[in-house]
């Protein structure tokens, strides 16, 4: 449980735009995910969550930084090694309509994964049926095309494709945000069951705080390409430290009118990531910002038991191991 399956160090992805401008989609992100753990990543749209997931798998080349999977840097691997490593690191996509080739039957979609794994062709039907069964689809699905399925069923096919190669790490890139609310819970529960059954480790990216809370052991909050707070789910939701996390949690509507109280909504828009504000990136929208926040970049520091946050106004707490 304590062994780090995935260790990301100072990961950066800067996109070069026209006229010498750069967009810092991910800017110096570090974290570890232990085997069997689920790390949730939340943030507004455009904060770099999706790019983070893609760069971790090297589907998008990072500008700099290191990603260790089982203590081996993904960015040092040769194409052949990377191909092998990818069987252990899979991804579930956000849009189940775009993630399945409309011209391929389900059996071919799963077959593509089985081929990558090196399963002999005569075993494909058997293996494909087994993995479809795991995600709750019947074998009659095999001969059908993606357009014959609903969004939730398509997402199950996407999950089946990822699981067919027998991965240890699954990057879930907003796997339920394109689905109906009623279907969302089915998929979330399915992912939970699969994790227990197959001893999976998740990097779970989402913008829905409730979804992340339900499934995550720890949660990282991203703002403009950086992690501003990272803590065990329970303590993050119970006692958020960073002003941005507080504001995010505040924005969640509470169904009980008596508990609503004063809702503090963050003002303004997320700044343009092409020219992030100096100092703390959140200071323009922060209700408690002081002069120092405009100049110094706050580092991610320990502010409680396994609780990290990047804010000048928080006291650093030395963790006793």
């Amino acid at each position: 449980m304590n062994q780090a399956l995935l260790r990301v160090e100072e990961l950066k992805k800067h996109y070069n735009l026209a006229k010498g401008r750069t967009l810092q989609a991910v800017d110096g992100v570090s974290f570890t995910v232990r085997a069997g753990e689920t790390l949730g990543v939340v943030g507004e749209s455009g904060c770099g969550k999706t790019t983070l997931g893609r760069t971790v798998l090297r589907l998008v080349e990072a500008t700099s930084g290191r990603v260790y999977y089982r203590d081996r840097n993904v960015y040092d691997m040769s194409p052949v090694e990377l191909r092998e490593a990818r069987r252990e690191m899979q991804i579930v996509f956000q849009d189940p309509y775009a993630s399945l080739n409309p011209r391929m039957k389900v059996s071919d979609v799963i077959g593509e994964a089985l081929e990558a794994k090196g399963v002999p062709r005569r075993m494909w039907t058997q293996e494909a049926e087994a993995v479809l069964d795991k995600v709750g689809l019947s074998r009659t699905a095999m001969s059908r095309y993606p357009h014959e399925f609903s969004g939730g069923q398509r997402q199950r096919i996407g999950i089946a494709r990822a699981l067919a190669v027998g991965p240890s790490l699954l990057v879930c890139d907003e796997p339920v945000s394109a689905l109906d609310v009623s279907v969302q819970s089915h998929i979330i529960n399915l992912l939970g069951e699969l994790k227990r059954e197959m001893h999976l480790t998740y990097l779970f990216i989402a913008h829905d705080l409730a979804v992340v809370r339900h499934i995550s052991d720890r949660v990282a909050v991203m703002y403009l390409g950086q992690i501003v707070e990272m803590a065990p789910a329970r303590s993050l939701y119970a006692a958020p430290q960073h002003p941005y996390t507080k504001a995010l949690l505040n924005a969640v509507p509470n169904p009980d009118p008596a508990k609503r109280g004063l809702r503090q909504i963050i003002s303004g828009e997320i700044p343009n990531p092409e020219c992030p504000p100096p100092g703390c990136r959140f200071h323009e929208r922060c209700p408690v910002a002081v002069a120092r926040c405009r100049e110094d970049v706050p580092a991610l520091k320990s502010v409680g038991a396994s609780h990290m946050a990047a804010c000048h106004l928080l006291e650093e707490v030395k963790e006793i191991d």
Partner: protein, 286 residues
């Protein structure tokens, strides 16, 4: 035989595809069995029977569709002309299509220097008038059927190249392509699995549209004396022969024109059907 019955079962109920394949079958039959079907030698000149009108417009039953300015039987020439026109049309489109699809995919998939070279080549070729280019090539290679096909194929790839490149660029960003990469598949497997099947419908539509252009282009080249030998009948050269007589002997240009039109129509009808039946989303309605 199983394929035939499969295609047949798909075509039934789709009348335009049925009409298209019937028409095309007629043309192919005419090309294959021209010596049996043609009533006269297509090259035999009877100067005393020049410009005779077709049988139904006051002519004799000797020449059902009339004769041209050299007294050659039009029906026989049209039957024989199917050989050249069909061969040139299909072979040139095939050559252009394969070249264009290949270069377009390479350009879109690999980008960088390959992309720049291919697209520059396309631009240069587009900037050059077709006739000028064909003139230069035919002058070097000499006239003849094979060289006509070659020239038409070489000039025709650009349209495929550009369309296929832009489709490839959009397809390679699709999440299912990313999923394939995440599974560890290489570029060539991705091209075969995901890019090619999704490009085919566009390519087929382009190809069916281009067959007509190719048949006409062969006519232009033959008209300029840079195509095939003038005594070999082709619809294109018959069309340009008849051009000068259109006000006095309309049939000389009209019948080869109708032959071109029907052939192109049949290929377009089949192309539409093929495109739709390749799309699993539309299968139930076909």
């Amino acid at each position: 035989m199983r394929t035939v019955s499969f295609i047949w079962s798909r075509m039934r109920g789709n009348y335009s595809a049925l009409v298209g394949s019937l028409l095309l079958t007629c043309v192919v039959m005419a090309a294959l069995f021209s010596p049996l079907l043609a009533p006269h030698d297509p090259r035999a000149q009877f100067l005393e029977r020049r410009l005779r009108p077709p049988a139904f417009a006051g002519g004799s039953s000797e020449n059902l569709l009339g004769t041209d300015q050299l007294g050659r039987d039009l029906l026989s020439r049209i039957v024989y002309g199917a050989r050249v026109s069909l061969l040139v049309g299909l072979a040139a489109v095939m050559l252009a299509g394969l070249t264009g699809i290949f270069l377009g995919i390479m350009s879109g998939m690999f980008g960088g220097a390959i992309d720049r070279i291919v697209m520059q080549l396309a631009d240069v070729q587009l900037a050059m008038p077709f006739i000028l280019f064909a003139l230069a090539v035919m002058a070097v290679l000499g006239p003849g059927l094979r060289n006509v096909i070659l020239v038409l194929g070489v000039t025709g790839w650009v349209i495929y190249g550009r369309v296929v490149r832009s489709e490839t660029l959009s397809l390679r960003e699709k999440e299912y392509v990313e999923a394939s990469r995440a599974l560890g598949h290489g570029r060539f497997k991705i091209i075969r699995r995901h890019i090619l099947p999704n490009i085919m419908p566009t390519a087929i539509v382009l190809a069916t549209l281009q067959v007509a252009n190719m048949i006409i282009a062969e006519a232009s080249l033959s008209f300029l004396g840079l195509g095939i030998e003038p005594d070999i009948p082709s619809w294109g050269s018959m069309l340009s022969d008849g051009r000068g007589y259109i006000s006095t002997a309309w049939w000389v240009a009209t019948f080869p024109g109708i032959a071109i039109m029907l052939t192109v129509l049949s290929i377009n009808l089949i192309g539409d059907w093929l495109r739709d039946s390749l799309d699993p989303r539309l299968k139930s309605s076909i």
